[in-house]
């Protein structure tokens, strides 16, 4: 192989405003590590970022098969980034299966960096190619830019003298790939090394070796005539401040911790593992030393019931699950609603119905959240729109719950739970105080006496002179004694509803975040579609289409001005990752021209899909 130095060749340098790359390989290939390091590097380079890991289905499949492919997608740019991108500019494919299952996400003319060894006949067979197939030849024929690199060989050469087995040496190939990509996008090597040290420690063999591997990858790019271009992605115009990367589940956990501390109450999590919600348990379980109590219960019912018990005891009780687990909590949610105690129920939604698609994303539990209980059982429902919003909205859920002494459901989903973005995180002193509506004076305490917001005072065991008994039977207004009185039942049903409706006074109005306040078309999303919608709107504006955007974070009750907002537009496009659940609710409540855009594929929207619909409506009108 002929080697040249960079000086000798004419290497074009091209400036890009945003790039999507995806590391894909076998579950054991360390793609998440490379991806994460590249993300941090890009963050330090000042780019805006969104990432999404793409794990294989639950069980580890045999090495080399399509079922075992693990990916990490990152989009970084000099402009604001709202989503990890519809399609990739660069695919780093460690084996044939990785290429096979991800080729359709690559842009026309996109670059494929193929790890040579991963495309040998054994790997082709494992990936399910016929014995005479030549996938790499085919992709070239299709016009993709193919860069074949023997990453394993570089790794082996780099670690040749370290006295470790070939297999272990080859494990370094993900770092070589990282180095190569860092070279392509001119990420400063010193920062990459610093990050590597943070991750693998400063001492120990692998700390050094990994740096050597990255350097080898970089050199490989530098010295080899693999590419005729190199790219520059300048810093994005981000707000100044200190940032960190955050995934939704982590943000959710942190939001709860912050809320607990701000309320002066202990945070208690009752949970039972379930994909994609388990990480919230894992995260909170770490902070016992700070006073966070987490309890893994025997099932979801026990989990919510333990949280109810904790709340009853004057703590901030929280339970976290996903669709099937939330289904099991239905009866106990009714109890919490009837008791009127604080409780935060987080549903990190996944594909349904039933066990469905555990590792895939969906927004199809909105109906369950709104309506899925026996009797008249209204509950506050809110939903974050992005990973970092999981922090804010978890905090908000706890705040509403404690201050209004009533359960709150928070709807996240697999997409924002695992997706990550930079976050200009707040300091605790910047966060509002939470004032749980605890009973204050002993004299004449009545458990179901309410204030002007229909909120009852919350007395907890240990408070002297306020002993009382409550339960799931209908309660007499004010006293809380069991009551079968017909009029009292009507009254209590109404009061519980009014209490939830009254929340409208405590939540922000809906804002038009993009576009005009009035017009032909409003795109109204909720939850995790925020990024894709924002990208689509931005693209639409670039294309000269007049369209506005608003995003619902409060689903029950709706913001006070929603009706006004809806009335300000001729058409309302409601994109949802379900068959039209929010649209159904809107239609019932408001007289607006609702146009649905639905996708139930276990995948987030592509911005393109939304843009197409916007364009279609724009043409049509």
């Amino acid at each position: 192989m002929q080697r040249k130095t960079t000086d000798e060749m004419t290497l074009k340098e091209k400036e890009l405003s945003s790039v999507v790359i995806k590391f894909v390989g076998d579950s054991g290939d360390g793609m998440q590590v490379s991806g994460n390091l590249f993300t941090s590097t890009s963050a330090l380079a000042g780019n805006d970022i969104a990432t999404f890991p793409d794990f294989p289905a639950e069980i580890r499949a045999p090495i080399g098969t399509v079922a075992g492919v693990s990916g990490f997608q990152i989009r970084f740019g000099s402009e604001e980034i709202y989503s990890p991108g519809d399609s990739c500019d660069v695919l780093i494919a460690m084996n044939a299966a990785a290429l096979k299952s991800n080729l359709d996400t690559l842009k026309t003319n996109g670059i494929i960096i193929a790890n040579t060894l991963g495309f040998d006949s054994k790997n082709l067979r494992l990936a399910g190619y016929s014995s005479d197939a030549d996938p790499l030849g085919e992709v070239q024929a299709k016009g993709y830019k193919l860069v074949n690199v023997d990453l394993s060989k570089v790794a082996k050469e780099t670690l040749a003298d370290k006295g470790i087995s070939t297999k272990e040496m080859e494990r370094g190939k993900n770092m070589v790939a990282l180095g190569l990509v860092c070279w392509m996008y001119q990420r400063p090597l010193d920062k990459v090394f610093a990050l590597t040290e943070m991750r693998f420690g400063k001492k120990g063999d692998w700390a050094e070796w990994n740096k050597a591997l990255i350097q080898a990858g970089w050199n490989f790019g530098e010295t080899l005539e693999l590419f005729n271009e190199r790219y520059v992605v300048k810093p994005a115009p981000l707000q100044s401040g200190t940032y960190r990367g955050i995934a939704g589940n982590e943000a959710l956990a942190l939001g709860l911790i912050a809320a607990g501390h701000k309320s002066g109450l202990k945070l208690f999590l009752g949970a039972y593992p379930i994909t994609p919600a388990s990480d919230v348990l894992h995260e909170l379980a770490k902070y016992k030393k700070l006073g966070v109590d987490s309890f893994m219960a025997e099932d979801e019912i026990a989990a919510i019931c333990a949280a109810i018990g904790a709340s009853y005891g004057g703590n901030l009780g929280v339970t976290v699950s996903s669709g099937p687990g939330i289904a099991l909590k239905t009866e106990a949610m009714g109890l919490a609603i009837s008791l009127e105690i604080p409780l935060v129920i987080c549903n990190v939604q996944r594909g349904g119905p039933s066990t469905g698609l555990p590792t895939k994303t969906e927004q199809a539990d909105l109906f369950q959240a709104m309506f899925g209980r026996n009797g008249e059982a209204p509950m506050i429902v809110i939903a974050p729109g992005s990973p970092r919003e999981c922090f804010e909205m978890a905090f908000e859920a706890a705040k509403l719950s404690l201050e209004h002494v009533t359960p709150v459901m928070l709807l996240s989903d697999g997409y924002i739970a695992n997706g990550a973005e930079p976050w200009k995180f707040p300091r605790m002193e910047e966060l509002p105080k939470i004032n749980p509506n605890l009973a204050k004076s002993v004299s004449g305490y009545k458990p179901y006496e309410r204030d002007e917001n229909f909120v009852r005072q919350w007395a907890v065991p240990g408070m002297s002179g306020m002993q009382h008994r409550i339960g799931g039977l209908e309660k007499e207004n004010i006293t809380g004694n069991v009551s079968y009185d017909p009029d009292n039942h009507q009254l209590m049903v109404d009061l519980r509803r009014k209490k939830v409706e009254k929340i409208v006074d405590f939540i922000p109005e809906l804002k038009i975040v993009n576009g005009d306040e009035k017009g032909k078309l409003l795109v109204l999303g909720w939850g995790s579609t925020l990024g894709a919608i924002t990208t689509a709107i931005t693209d639409a504006h670039k294309a000269g289409i007049q369209v506005s955007q608003a995003h619902l974070r409060y689903l029950n009750p709706f913001p006070r001005n929603l009706e006004m907002v809806l009335n300000s537009f001729e058409n309302i496009l409601v994109p949802e990752l379900n068959s039209g659940q929010l649209a159904f609710i809107l239609k019932s409540n408001f007289n607006a021209n609702i146009i649905q855009l639905n996708k139930v594929k276990g995948k987030p929207f592509l911005a393109r899909e939304i843009l197409e619909k916007i364009t279609e409506i724009n043409h049509g009108s």
């Binding site: 943070m198 912050a258 026990a302 109810i308």
Partner: protein, 340 residues
């Protein structure tokens, strides 16, 4: 913290009488129901626990027996069917200073609540379980329960129950319970003493209380309470004492190897003598087996009582030791960067 500030307003432990624990609610069990006896016994035990009223909590499920919390002037929750165990666990481990009682029925605890019961037993938080076993569903008007005897004719089993009944002490011992006892509504002193002992035990204390439902299953426990019959049908367990029973106190249960045998008192000797030892798991298991062993008297008293670390101790709930700066650190995480 808000809770604390209110809590510290509270008074010091008081000396109570049974009457202090009467709530303002009418007791609504059927006249003659065995539940009354248990309520009375508990109201007598509570003043002896040394706990302040406001630090006592009764959590129940659903059933006739589960109305119990309404009738004691402490904190209380009449929750949902079968879930009192889980609710009490969440409460106790976050507020270990509270005295937490669980009130449940045979349907509530062994049917719908079975899973939570066995998990409670293995975890062993310091709570007291009073299981009102009337071998029937009272509140829903007379269906068979998991403790109903085979063949029982009820609305739900018009051809007779075909399910093998659970043996509550055996089940809880198998699940790892650390305190298992049985008593009966009609022996008021025994009832009182057993509940008192349970309340003193540090760990989950499980008390099965035979309770007569005079409406739907009247007389199921008659052979244990009937003046004539009872002495031959019951055996009262007392620590360190032999297992003697019979009207004439002339029969004893001994161990032949690992097998229990009924002999006349005179046949007891050093090698076969069975002195009741609630710390002995195997003996407790054997006693539990008497429940359905033909010809054996039904044991009442503490089958098993052996302390081990409680779940609330191990759980180590504490307040926010952290100040805001520590939370700030957690929120910041390990890797941050600055944008100017």
């Amino acid at each position: 913290m808000e809770v604390d500030s209110v809590l510290t307003q509270t008074t010091q432990p008081k000396v109570y009488t049974s009457k202090d624990f009467e709530s303002d609610q009418d007791v609504r069990w059927c006249p003659g129901c065995g539940d009354y006896a248990v309520l009375n016994a508990v109201k007598k035990v509570l003043p002896q626990t040394g706990k302040r009223k406001e630090d006592i909590v009764f959590i129940s499920g659903i059933g006739c027996s589960s109305r119990f919390p309404y009738y004691v002037d402490t904190y209380g929750m009449h929750s949902i069917h079968g879930r009192a165990f889980a609710i009490a666990t969440g409460l106790k481990i976050t507020r270990p200073e509270l005295d937490v009682w669980i009130i449940t029925g045979d349907g509530d605890s062994m049917s719908i609540g079975g899973n939570h019961l066995i998990h409670l037993c293995r975890r062993n938080p310091n709570v007291n379980v009073l299981l009102f076993n009337n071998e029937i569903y009272g509140l829903t008007k007379g269906q068979h329960s998991p403790t109903s005897e085979k063949g029982l004719l009820t609305k739900s089993s018009p051809l007779g129950v075909i399910d093998n009944p659970f043996n509550p002490p055996a089940l809880t011992l198998g699940a790892g319970a650390s305190f298992v006892a049985r008593t009966i509504d009609r022996f008021s002193a025994h009832l009182h003493d057993t509940i008192l002992e349970a309340s003193k035990f540090n760990g989950t204390s499980f008390v099965e209380i035979y309770q007569n439902c005079n409406i739907f299953n009247d007389g199921v426990f008659e052979s244990f309470t009937d003046k004539e019959a009872k002495d031959d049908n019951i055996i009262i367990l007392e620590q360190g004492k032999q297992l003697i029973f019979g009207k004439e106190k002339d029969k004893a249960i001994v161990l032949k190897g690992h097998s229990p045998e009924i002999v006349s008192l005179s046949e007891v000797n050093e090698t076969n003598e069975w002195l009741h030892d609630p710390q002995d798991f195997v003996k407790a298991t054997l006693l539990a087996q008497f429940t359905y062993m033909q010809g054996f008297p039904r044991p009442f008293g503490v089958f098993y009582s052996k302390q081990r670390p409680t779940y609330d101790e191990l759980f180590e709930s504490k307040g926010w030791d952290a100040d805001e700066s520590e939370i700030d650190k957690v929120i910041a995480g390990k890797f941050t960067w600055k944008v100017d």
